[in-house]
């Protein structure tokens, strides 16, 4: 009895609280447990960066500054973590310059870093700390909106048929994918003001610039990137 009270009980408390400490630590540093892909697998590395990050900088050509490059912090999603398709989707308001720029000139790039993930211990510009720039075109999606359908209907049957065909062919399905990808990763977006003209966009990737180790940019094609295993 004496032994149990004097020695075993304090030992039990010690390990119990050490366990609690580790548990708390691991939950606060969740990102540190993410497994980084093999650095030789460039496509997987790029897809991993896109999948794990929730924000980046979308650069467009500024309307207000005569075509100067304008980078802007934006939230994005390519789907749920590790279930994405590699295509970055955005939910942008035309009250913000980036959406207005993109609607005028689609050329854009999305830059993201490994830094926010917490898996990189070196300087953010050290080549072992991965970074990715996806260059391409920002394209808007059109969701089926019954209000719009009815309005257009007033102007004739031909118009409504064309409009519906355009919507259905032009990507309403992918728009739903985009919406789900964004709203599951950024649930806050669902409550953003309806009168702020938020619209769905995607980046159609043309070129990939990836640094994930020494030796400069890695050779990786858009096809390899899009078909990489998640």
């Amino acid at each position: 009895m004496e032994l149990q009270v004097l020695v075993l009980r304090p030992i039990f408390f010690f390990f119990f609280f050490v366990f609690l400490t580790i548990l708390q630590q691991s939950s606060s540093a969740r990102v540190l447990t993410i497994t980084k892909p093999d650095r030789h697998d460039y496509a997987a590395s790029a897809r991993w960066l896109v999948s794990q990050n929730s924000w980046g900088v979308l650069s467009t050509l500024s309307v207000d500054h005569k075509g100067a490059p304008f980078g802007n912090v934006v939230s994005f999603s390519d789907g749920l973590p590790e279930k994405g398709n590699g295509i970055p989707y955005f939910y942008l308001t035309t009250l913000d310059p980036t959406a207005r720029n993109a609607l005028k000139d689609q050329r854009a790039s999305l830059a993201i870093s490994e830094s926010p993930l917490g898996t990189c211990t070196r300087d953010p510009m050290n080549p072992t700390c991965s970074k990715l720039t996806l260059t391409g075109k920002v394209k808007e999606f059109f969701l089926i909106d019954t209000t719009k359908k009815l309005t257009v209907k007033c102007f004739g049957l031909y118009l409504i048929i064309m409009f519906q065909l355009l919507i259905l062919e032009g990507g309403s399905e992918e728009a739903e994918v985009a919406k789900k990808a964004l709203f599951t990763k950024h649930p806050e977006m669902m409550d953003w003001p309806k009168d702020h003209d938020f619209r769905f966009f995607k980046l159609e990737i043309i070129d990939i610039f990836l640094i994930n180790w020494y030796g400069g940019a890695k050779p990786i094609t858009v096809d390899e990137y899009l078909h990489a295993k998640s």
Copy 2:
């Protein structure tokens, strides 16, 4: 004695490990203690973002992609934390597209977010999570380099005098400020390969886009920004 062993000792262990847990937590979440400026002080808010962040995305006009906007993750510094001058300095290699782009066309912008600082609990695109884009021109500094001086000397006395005048007048003093600002915030840079043609650059700010609360971009002039109290 019985009371001490049965009750007080476990209580002591409990508080001791709770204390340890808190200590560990506070050290891992250091950034959460940073004091954010009053949101009504736009200049201070912008300077705080630049001062506290160590990396951002520098957007230039791509030479390789016919003038498309190219964002790239870069480390920067405007001086030591809370002692900076508001001007972002960079240490870029011409092996990387960004420096080559900037040498061809100086138009650029630097975008940074509050997210990496850990002071923002909302979505990175929520207006309460500050973001900043500095638009301007990326300009290279020239440091006095005795090797270059000697090489140029071979081509005539006139050339060397002109060269030295250009260097001394053209900002060797600010180049030293840039070097100190970068190497103190990013000590790793001192060891980056000498044969990789790293050069010092600064962003000469022309326009400021700041979101630090609801209500769209905040009105802030470059002069207010540069003369804000650190």
